[in-house]
């Protein structure tokens, strides 16, 4: 286990270097002069020079890249151009709201989807299953923004069941605001998820052990709950674990739309303010979280499925 972990971390180094390179190239080379992006075309020469000096943009590109590598290895990302806050503080303050939204939303959605998936899979080939699959495909095909826009309009604005948008840092209080995004997240993902879990479960029902269980006269509900459910936990848990790293990143759409001050919102605000240092840092930090999340995924995966050996 330990050797696996060390090897994976070593393997992650060239990937992290690659991410740093891509981010640097995108923002400092492809994007043209970052100073113009930040202060606009109509700034005075003095303003430009100040900005260039502050962010080290007056140095040659290789030096800029080395400085950037130094920044990311020491986690000193500097300050936001728009708000002058320290970027590391912004990130720390954003993780809480992001996870408060994504964790409950994801787990509620997964629980309900697995139950519904089992249900339609049990009635495979019957009318209930057909209707279920058709509803899933329809649900998947409705644009995600339509759920959010219509949902906010009817459930919050018209029916007044939920606040329209906003966030409260107090602990149970935040869920007044998070309830509607969580409900919409559920509606938005349930079609895809139920179909996915149904397929995973059906894959198991064609295995030999199911035939054996039937041959020895076991009742169908018993086969389902005792054998199929247990074995289909492997693909189900795999899927769940794969999604977990993404949850830290929050949700761009939900956070910006409902005014939840998570990492997604911070990034989009920075985008609208052309806050170049913040977007650049976000791109890097989020990739870092994803890379380490994936290593964690492999470890959890081996714990769930005894057939997987870590090498």
């Amino acid at each position: 286990m330990l050797t696996f972990l060390i090897r994976r971390i070593i393997a992650a180094v060239p990937i992290i270097f690659g991410v740093a390179l891509v981010v640097f190239l995108l923002f400092n080379v492809v994007g043209g002069d970052p100073a113009i992006m930040m202060v606009g075309k109509h700034a005075t020469a003095q303003q430009m020079a100040d900005i260039r000096h502050e962010y080290g943009l007056d140095k040659p590109l290789p030096i800029q890249f080395l400085n950037y590598l130094k920044e990311i290895t020491t986690f000193e990302f500097g300050r936001s151009y728009a708000t002058r806050q320290k970027i590391s503080d912004m990130i720390v303050s954003g993780i809480g709201p992001s996870l408060s939204l994504t964790l409950p939303a994801f787990f509620i959605t997964t629980l309900i989807s697995v139950i519904l998936g089992l249900f339609v899979a049990y009635f495979r080939g019957k009318l209930i299953d057909r209707i279920g699959v058709i509803l899933c495909v329809i649900g998947m095909s409705i644009p995600s923004l339509a759920y959010i826009l219509f949902g906010q309009y009817y459930l919050a604005y018209e029916m007044r069941w939920f606040p329209i948008s906003g966030y409260d840092y107090s602990f149970p209080g935040r869920f007044d605001y998070l309830a509607l995004p969580i409900v919409l997240w559920l509606l938005l993902s349930i079609g895809y998820d139920v179909r996915f879990y149904r397929t995973a479960i059906l894959e198991e029902t064609s295995q030999d052990y199911v035939r054996t269980a039937r041959a020895k006269g076991m009742s169908e509900p018993r086969i389902f709950l005792k054998h199929v459910l247990k074995n289909s936990m492997v693909p189900i848990v795999t899927n769940v674990v794969l999604e977990i790293p993404l949850l830290i990143l929050g949700s761009f759409l939900f956070e910006t739309f409902f005014g939840i001050p998570g990492l997604g919102s911070i990034t989009i605000d920075a985008l609208h303010n052309s806050d170049f240092p913040v977007i650049k840092t976000m791109a890097f930090i989020m990739s870092l979280l994803l890379i380490f999340g994936n290593i964690l995924t492999d470890i959890v995966y081996s714990l769930v499925d005894p057939r997987v050996k870590l090498k």
């Binding site: 060239p14 990937i15 095909s141 644009p143 923004l145 826009l149 761009f252 990739s287």
Partner: protein, 301 residues
């Protein structure tokens, strides 16, 4: 008794030669029997025709003319008023049609460029292995380590806003899935007997990759093409909504973006137009994708 030996022909034997069917013939026959697939193909064709007619300025042209007062309600009196008017009194029906053209164009261009890139890079990585493989895998692992939406946002941000940036952003991320699949398939196929046979007959690398292996894995390309097409359409809407997408010309994305301020005023038609237009083509692609997967699966007889 004649000694002349004429070669025995098919006619003499009166046995019809067993006609083997290729995967494609089988797949096509299966698709034709699948009513859902036929309907979905028709829907997609319909969208293509609308897009082409709009491109040729036959319908919905010009879209930016003031045809009614601001936010005029939908009415049945003329085609262009079926979906009412937007804030500037322009026909929402026309904008929806123009948006179809934007979406189809985007889907086609993104899929037509990113799929070949993915095929070639994936094929090279899987076929040659070694340091070339390491390099290509490093490249796409790096790109896919950056959360997709964030990478799209970063690229669009760096290139400035607009349609070209959206094209480039989508192309530079959407080849990865195809490359992964192709690499895996080429690794599986390169040691099979038919490739060894081709090799012993002196086939070049080029011919082995493109003439021998590629036709055997080409059903993945069709599937991936239709998937990329659909995801490009969906991504445009989200990018535009987040403020890095298409500006100036109508697209379903900026129609939905406008709608976020309109719903509270009771103006539902612009959002409905774009949503419904998008819904049917995504639905058709979802169902057709499943049918294609089943029809081209060699394991299902």
């Amino acid at each position: 008794m004649t000694t002349a030996t004429s070669p025995i022909t098919q006619e003499d034997l009166k046995i019809p030669l067993a006609q083997g069917k290729s995967l494609w013939q089988l797949g096509f026959a299966r698709l034709r029997r699948d009513k859902f697939a036929v309907v979905c193909t028709a829907i997609i064709l319909f969208y293509f025709i609308i897009a082409a007619l709009s491109k040729l300025n036959v319908i919905a042209s010009p879209w930016d003319l003031k045809v009614a007062e601001s936010y005029a309600r939908p009415s049945g009196e003329s085609f262009r008023m079926w979906l009412g008017a937007d804030i500037f009194g322009r026909s929402v029906m026309y904008k929806t049609i123009y948006g179809t053209r934007t979406a189809i164009g985007l889907g086609l261009v993104v899929a037509a460029i990113s799929v070949p890139i993915g095929v070639i890079l994936g094929a090279i990585a899987g076929y040659f292995g070694g340091w070339i493989d390491d390099l290509i895998v490093w490249f796409y692992t790096t790109l896919s380590s950056i959360p997709n939406l964030l990478l799209l946002i970063a690229i669009s941000f760096a290139l400035g806003k607009g349609l070209t940036a959206v094209y480039i952003a989508l192309i530079s991320t959407s080849w990865i899935g195809m490359a992964r699949v192709m690499r895996g398939e080429f690794m599986k196929h390169k040691d099979r007997e038919y490739v060894l046979a081709a090799d012993s007959l002196g086939a070049s690398h080029f011919s082995k990759i493109f003439k021998h292996i590629l036709p055997n894995v080409s059903h993945f390309i069709i599937l991936n093409f239709s998937m990329q097409f659909m995801s490009a359409i969906k991504a445009e809407v989200i990018l535009t909504f987040l403020g890095v997408g298409i500006q100036g010309t109508p697209s379903w994305g900026n129609m939905i973006d406008d709608a976020k301020l309109e719903l509270a005023r009771g103006v539902w038609w612009q959002l409905t137009g774009a949503t419904v237009a998008m819904f049917f083509i995504v639905l058709a692609f979802n169902i057709l994708g499943d049918s294609l997967r089943d029809a081209l699966d060699p394991k299902i007889k």
